[in-house]
């Protein structure tokens, strides 16, 4: 998408239009990192939490909690027509609900 935009130097902003999923930049090499991350987050914001908001199922409120401490937007500079992510970085959409949902991202690219 950045290549299509014809921007050599600039800024790419990624925005996720949801409150029960979020963005996270994490290691792209060992898939065990994402598994450890998910397992740990289940402890930080557990499904068994006696939440007042439970009309949308027991996995909904913990999803909001997990989204609140991760990211809704991320700004990534563009250099030489590429996102300047580090060697080990990838940007993930993190689904916090128990079942898959269709998720919408908005990507804004500006520069020269």
């Amino acid at each position: 998408m950045v290549t299509e935009s014809d921007v050599t130097t600039g800024l790419c902003t990624v925005f996720l239009r949801h409150t029960s999923a979020s963005l996270v930049i994490q290691e792209n090499a060992d898939p065990a990192v994402l598994r450890d991350l998910a397992r740990w987050m289940e402890g930080v914001a557990p499904e068994q939490g006696d939440y007042e908001h439970d009309a949308e199922g027991p996995d909904d409120m913990p999803s909001h909690l997990r989204a609140s401490i991760t990211r809704s937007s991320e700004g990534i500079p563009i250099t030489r027509r590429k996102l300047c992510l580090g060697t080990w970085q990838a940007l993930y959409v993190w689904e916090h609900r128990a079942t898959g949902h269709r998720r919408e991202l908005v990507v804004h690219v500006a520069g020269d």
Copy 2:
């Protein structure tokens, strides 16, 4: 503010000038979500924490902790002169101190 700025397509960056309050994008529908969020955060960064930094009251250091894992800035794309927030999203200033404080936001809008 975005409408006033006369930008049709662009980027709105919101920045909060404080370290004991923060930004969070959360559900705008059921107010119970915000209550659950606050209650959960009180457990994650508790007021009873045996903090070294306590000169500004027992609610100050937990406020810094809560701010550190939520957001100071948020980048939200603008399309058709509107923030492209999702249907259920709202951007909140989250006051972490026990009593209300005057808080300053800086909003930057760029685009065409």
Copy 3:
């Protein structure tokens, strides 16, 4: 860096190219705040965590966890050729590994 860029009004985006360190805007006055923050984070994402990903040492996976709930990017508006940080705000690179690492930041400045 912002002063060098000759931008009077604009946006500065700071991006950290790592997944075991992160950005955080925190109080710049009392160094005890940073010590309390570090001690608290050690409890939130502990080194003793029975992680699947442990090939890079016991301090690596907790570093990824800590980075996931803090920031990879931060957008700070520029006014009158200066970052509009609040009086008590400073932007820190937070090293989550046990030993120091060389870290790369990318800073993007846009404006007039």
